[in-house]
Symmetry: C2
Subunit: 246 residues, 2 copies
Amino acid sequence: MTLEQMRKFDVDNRLSTRPVSVSMADETVKADSGMAAKRENGRKNDPQRTQEDILDVATEEFTTHGLAGGRVDAIAEKTRTSKRMIYYYFGSKEGLYLAVLERAYRKIRTLEEDLQLSNLPPEQALRVLISTTFEHDEANPEFVRLVSIENIHHAAHMLRSEAIRDLNVSVIETIAAILDRGIAAGVFARKADPIDIHMLISAFCFFRVSNRYTFGTIFRRDLSEPATMERHKGMIADAVISYLKT
Amino acid sequence: MTLEQMRKFDVDNRLSTRPVSVSMADETVKADSGMAAKRENGRKNDPQRTQEDILDVATEEFTTHGLAGGRVDAIAEKTRTSKRMIYYYFGSKEGLYLAVLERAYRKIRTLEEDLQLSNLPPEQALRVLISTTFEHDEANPEFVRLVSIENIHHAAHMLRSEAIRDLNVSVIETIAAILDRGIAAGVFARKADPIDIHMLISAFCFFRVSNRYTFGTIFRRDLSEPATMERHKGMIADAVISYLKT
DNA sequence: TAAAATGTACGAACTAGTGCGTATGTCAAG
DNA sequence: CTTGACATACGCACTAGTTCGTACATTTTA
């Protein structure tokens, strides 16, 4: 399959290819996977580890060069396995990219889920949520980059993945609850749409990371400096809070 | 030259290639360029128009498929000229991409320059500036996409172009002046960094466009709806203003 | 006629993907 | 506990098609 053809590649096709297990869903780890590497100089089968290894390298490659710019051969070389295995497990370059994307989303979902905010006063709850979002984007630039890449491709791959689509709803519910409590307690004056508020927060946190290079180049400012980071974290929190109080 | 090699391609090389005029700087248009197309069925040389044509098509191609994903042959086909001319005028794919990027930046610089805000009261001046930024990003998605692409490539091409690097400083000066006047008049309570404020505004406006697809997919919301746009425009303005007043 | 502009056809290198052979693990039957 | 059968895991080397870039010929302009 050629690059040109891949533009209109139906990602679901990968489901009809040979083995292609991609059964990463079960987190079950083999009993001996601790010492999984290589036994002596003989080969030791460890599909879980092999797939993780491929995904790690692929994430690095795709976030550095984009989807079209990422080279399967380059990934294969940096892996402790071969290109054949990439196709064995992921079916195609597109399939590999999708697996990378899904894993990245799965990773953050777990972090965002349990964040007991319901017993904090509304304003403080919101500040904690904003801090968390801020620090998450800061700590996961590769996730931010993958989302940027997805947007260049009109979120085409995301659309095919139910796993990714029904996500992030929990954040909205969390925000909605905080806003309601804030209104009820009289600390927030404005009835705002929770999705809008999420966007206001997310936009700033995301932009800081996604546009780090162009922004840094134009304004000669290093956005990853600790002092700058703290100031920015305070700013977005203050901006959101003062908006809601007005 | 291959794609692999292009990763470390020194963009300045294009300056040492054959003709490669790229003299887009002078906006002088030939007297007869109005009827420039084709005289009868004979050829009529019109380099200016040819280059513009190539750049238009290239912009579309690169913003749709990215730098690595964009195909020179695809661009050539959609042009009324040939691939030979692309190399004649721009030297290489990278050179073409850089020209596209520079033209996009040059386009916005003119828009941002004269915006008489100094005789408006500070709060109103800021609201006008925010509206302008908001509508600019909304009206120029291809510019937003190019910047996203540049960030994926660590702003590598932007760094080589002095034309782009010394830009955007005017916006900061404008904001600084407004903030100072606001403090002096007592309408703003907080002494904020103008670059930070620019980032707060820019992040939201940019994100709405750059992350339109992923955000729209996850939250099933069309960000280009007029009602949504107006609400968002008001929200970012209110957020910035209330932040400065606190 | 010299210089600039343009079209055609081609090539060298690269890239996604595969055919085929081999190694390893599992499990049931003896 | 062996042995054998079969599915899974893995690697080498190859191919068909694509991609950027260019040599060469040709036309237009000045």
